[in-house]
């Protein structure tokens, strides 16, 4: 047997030890940032006091001179934080009525490197500085850095022991306490992401979400006994304490966040659900008592979500899913955390109206887009919101069909069963109203307004994905999206990574199309400009040696023409469907580049109808009505709907008679 040199063996052993440290046998990925937290909730003072052991392994090939952290709750510390200033500029005065005890904050009481071997304990508190990488707002304290005595080398692991206290705010955004219902998110000093060329650690903005590295969370929560507790991951036991509290332990590896809820009134339902043959997940539903009649609707939505997401995007890898029905006014509804999310319901919930199903599926879906595929929500908001909006819409429509239109009267949602919302309608209206405000790819706080952020990150992103699905075809798209999804689990993809996968499966031209959607605010609008049917004129003049005097032509009888126009600035290859009066259908292709195209035919029959993009591939088309043209427009519709609208006018006038006559 060949002898392995001792030095090489030592090196291999060291590498294995490092690898084992950052990737425990059960974990799905390198555990870059591990948090062991022991937190105590004082419900009288609404204060969390906690001790946190953070183990961070430098995943890059550059030494880390500093460590940057998020302290998100300092956004609620005063109205000079970046978060609240930006909110105020958008007209959202979230804290105007706040009293002294309503504000939140997170303070690092102590931060040190524990003693290890010969190395003495190092107090890092003197090195703590608040940082403002985005806007130089010195009042904002949502990012801080500390400087260890020496850089953390690539692959090296550093431990930090942190004591912190977090004042639970009245709900402003996503977290807080209302009465005795606590929803706790972004509550601990959370490390940013070290990308080699520096720390990716943004301040908390009015429209930003979150970005962190994967690791293991082992969290003990001590709360008053009798509180129902739910959190990220598996519950690994709970114990009663002599002082009337109870401690619950939750553990989850391969995630990048940890949130929890504690509320004495929650109803807890659990089941083991087989979402695929041989695969089971433990479902937990924490429900508000006045929503108990919605229990099965919530659970069914989660079952559909995990089943379809697993089929289309890869088998859900974790062992638990916890869905929380949030308290009214908690501000925590419709939000996602790894293996743990909040839905949102109203106690009057007619069937066919997609609440709570739609938000439940959406927030579960974030377990994939953002949870597993850890894109940067600060910098590429569409990569989670847009993609996930597409995912949740597809799941909803597959599982439940088209939702019905509804309107609230006296706070009661009333369904209009005859009016259903097609899948192409999801998001197009907000895109239509904001298309020229921003390009899709902006940092989340870089949009012109809240409406533009929502329309771009969610609506346009979703519509783009649906367009891509139809352009590629379902089969290629589903292969592509599954490949993208599973390839980038537990990693941090950027737009180029997604484009590469699209090009791999769909060709470079599809990436060119995406480029237009993502990096420009050009609008997509193809239209049929008109149809012309001219009778073929009899021949007059010299034809070879024969003079003809205009006798009637035999056939064909018509020179027909269809004008197709590109009214927007997005260029895309389109199909055109032409219908002749004898029922003959012709499909044509156009590269869509120039401003117009004329299709000409000589035919015994007239063209009566033309449709550009007949299969409705380009759902981003802002004006779908002009995609079709018919020589015989329906005259009944304007009359019918004017008449139906008139009923409202007539009824209004009759009500006015209580004033006069």
């Amino acid at each position: 047997m060949r002898k392995i040199p001792f030095a090489l063996a030592l090196l291999l052993g060291f590498a294995a030890a490092v690898a084992a440290q950052i990737r425990p046998p059960r974990a799905f990925c390198p555990q870059v940032a591990n948090y062991t937290i022991d937190a105590q909730l004082d419900t009288e003072k609404r204060l969390i006091q906690a001790q946190q052991l953070l183990e961070w392994t430098n995943p890059s090939d550059t030494p880390a001179v500093e460590l940057w952290f998020h302290l998100y709750w300092n956004a609620f510390r005063n109205n000079r934080s970046t978060f609240l200033m930006e909110s105020a500029q958008m007209g959202r005065t979230r804290t105007e009525k706040f009293g002294e005890t309503d504000w939140g904050r997170c303070s690092v009481d102590d931060i040190r490197i524990p003693a290890s071997g010969d190395v003495a304990e190092t107090d890092l508190k003197p090195t703590l500085r608040f940082r403002h990488p985005d806007d130089n707002n010195l009042e904002d304290r949502t990012v801080f850095s500390v400087r260890p005595p020496r850089p953390v080398e690539p692959g090296e692991t550093i431990q930090l022991r942190i004591s912190f206290s977090a004042q639970v705010p009245r709900p402003v955004s996503r977290t807080g306490v209302i009465r005795d219902s606590y929803f706790i998110a972004q509550w601990f000093p959370k490390l940013g992401v070290f990308e080699g060329n520096g720390w990716n650690c943004h301040q908390y903005h009015a429209h930003s979400e979150f970005f962190a590295d994967y690791g293991t969370y082992d969290v003990r929560l001590t709360v008053p006994a009798g509180y129902v507790v739910g959190a990220t991951g598996e519950e690994r036991g709970s114990s009663r304490n002599p002082d009337g509290t109870a401690t619950h332990r939750f553990v989850q590896h391969s995630v990048h966040d940890f949130a929890w809820t504690a509320d004495p009134g929650l109803l807890k339902y659990q089941e083991d659900y087989a979402f695929l043959p041989g695969r089971t997940v433990h479902l937990i539903l924490l429900l508000q008592p006045h929503h108990r009649h919605l229990r099965e609707r919530y659970l069914q939505a989660v079952r559909h979500a995990v089943t379809y997401a697993s089929l289309w995007y890869g088998e859900y890898p974790y062992t638990t899913i916890t869905c929380v029905d949030p308290a009214f006014n908690s501000g925590s509804g419709g939000m996602e955390y790894p293996t743990f999310f909040t839905g949102g319901a109203y106690f009057i919930a007619p069937r066919g109206i997609p609440r709570p199903e739609s938000v439940t599926i959406h927030e579960f879906g974030h377990g994939y887009f953002y949870g597993l595929i850890g894109s940067n929500e600060f910098e590429f908001p569409w990569m989670d919101e847009g993609m996930n909006s597409y995912l949740d819409t597809k799941i909803y429509y597959t599982a439940y069909g088209e939702p019905v239109y509804s309107q609230n009267y006296f706070g009661i949602p009333v369904a209009f069963p005859k009016i259903t919302l097609p899948i192409e309608s999801q998001g197009i209206s907000s895109h239509r109203q904001t298309w020229n405000m921003d390009i899709l790819q902006r940092s989340s706080w870089g949009y012109m307004s809240g409406a533009s952020y929502g329309a771009n990150a969610y609506a346009k992103g979703q519509l783009m994905m649906l367009t891509l699905e139809r352009v590629l075809g379902e089969e290629i798209f589903s292969e592509m999206i599954k490949a993208y999804s599973t390839r980038w689990w537990w990693k941090h993809p950027q737009p180029a990574d997604f484009f590469d996968v699209v090009a791999e499966f769909g060709g470079r031209d599809k990436s060119d199309l995406l480029d237009q959607f993502v990096y420009s605010s050009a609008r997509l609008d193809y239209a049929v400009g008109g149809i012309s049917n001219q009778a073929v004129r009899p021949e007059r003049g010299w034809f070879e040696d024969e003079f003809r005097m205009g006798e009637k032509a035999d056939s064909p009888r018509f020179e027909t023409e269809v004008l197709i126009r590109r009214l927007g600035d997005v260029t895309a290859p389109v199909e055109i469907l032409v219908l002749f009066e004898n029922g003959r259908r012709v499909r044509e292709n156009w590269d869509g580049r120039y401003r117009w195209k004329k299709l000409r035919y000589r035919s015994p029959f007239r063209i009566i109808q033309a449709v550009v993009d007949p299969d409705f591939k380009y759902v981003l088309d802002l004006n779908r009505s002009n995609n079709s043209f018919t020589l015989y427009p329906d005259r009944v519709a304007p009359l019918k709907w004017t008449s139906r609208w008139l009923l409202w006018i007539q009824h209004t006038l009759e009500l006015f008679t209580m004033i006069g006559g």
Binding site: I178, Y409, I428, R644, T652, L653, I659
Partner: protein, 313 residues
């Protein structure tokens, strides 16, 4: 019992002069139709020569409607499923309870104001005919009575407008603040919902009571020949409190009839297919039949109230 007798007499009175109801219905229709051409044009322009027109005849093209809604202005901007069929009734009921019936685009509000003026004018003639019978039913007599009563009726209408828009509107805004404050600390949406609903029902009741007072003010003006607005209103209040039970009885029985006819319309509107030209025509007839019945019920209310006044002397 008294209420039922007066209702029966009121019904016979309305039946005796059906042309009055027809005239009031036509007034409603004419004023509504002034708003129809712009809406028709907006819909026709938007549907244009696209295939959306076909889809809108057979059903409701939600995609097309979103496009229309996002670009429409003025009265066309009110076109929405929320104000169609049952939506129209619920929408108006909610706005009435919130004192916001007058929150309308300018063109519609103008038509409504002109409608109220003309309606106020003709109600003088209508009530005079109900009061005095055939001898005052000649054309000249009708218009002379209308002209004679118009100043008082206009004053009553003005007072009614102040109370409705000012009092109900103001109370509603105050109740909104109250509900908001109660909701701010609630961890469940149920109690704020019921609080808001209770306020809405209370305001609806208040609106109906106001209508009762101003109805009797008009009736007593015709019955007693009073020419003073405040005097008429004061007399109405006194009358109502003196004959509370029969007054309320008539009112709420008529209200039940109105509710019944509204529910019937909603049901028929839902089941009658309106996807073909014939179906659309039937739908239109159904609609106008419903409005006609509302006008009839309004006249029936007046006639019954008048009969009560006649009975009590």
């Amino acid at each position: 019992m008294r209420s039922l007798i007066n209702l029966a007499k009121g019904w016979r009175l309305v039946r005796a002069f059906p042309l009055l109801v027809v005239g009031l219905f036509l007034l409603n229709l004419i004023f509504s139709l002034t708003l129809a051409p712009p809406m028709h044009r907006a819909l026709k322009d938007s549907l244009g020569k696209s295939l959306a027109g076909e889809r809108m005849t057979k059903g409701f093209d939600y995609l097309w409607w979103e496009e229309f809604r996002d670009t429409a202005g003025g009265p066309a901007g009110t076109f929405s499923p929320a104000v169609m069929g049952k939506g129209a009734l619920l929408f108006n009921l909610e706005r009435m309870a919130k004192g916001r019936l007058a929150s309308l685009p300018g063109e519609i509000l103008l038509a409504a104001i002109l409608f109220i003026l003309i309606r106020t004018f003709v109600m003088g003639g209508v009530l005079t005919i109900y009061q005095n019978g055939r001898e005052s039913a000649q054309k000249a007599g009708f218009f002379i009575s209308s002209a004679r009563l118009f100043p008082v009726f206009l004053g009553i209408a003005g007072l009614a407008a102040v109370f409705y828009l000012g009092l109900i509107g103001g109370l509603e805004r105050w109740s909104d603040l109250l509900v908001g404050r109660a909701a701010a600390n609630a961890s469940s949406e149920v109690s704020p919902f019921f609080l808001a609903l209770a306020f809405s029902l209370l305001f609806l009741l208040l609106v109906l009571l106001l209508q009762m007072v101003f109805d009797y003010a008009r009736i007593l003006t015709v019955a007693n020949g009073s020419r003073r607005v405040f005097q008429a209103v004061a007399a109405a209040l006194r009358y109502i409190f003196r004959h509370l039970l029969p007054v309320l009885g008539i009112f709420f029985l008529i209200l039940s009839a109105q509710l019944g006819i509204s529910l019937l319309y909603i049901f028929l509107d839902g089941v009658v297919p309106q996807a073909s030209p014939a179906g659309v025509a039937i739908g239109m007839l159904l609609q106008q039949g419903f409005i006609f019945s509302l006008v009839w019920i309004r006249c029936w209310l007046y006639a019954s109230q008048l009969e009560l006044v006649r009975y009590t002397g």
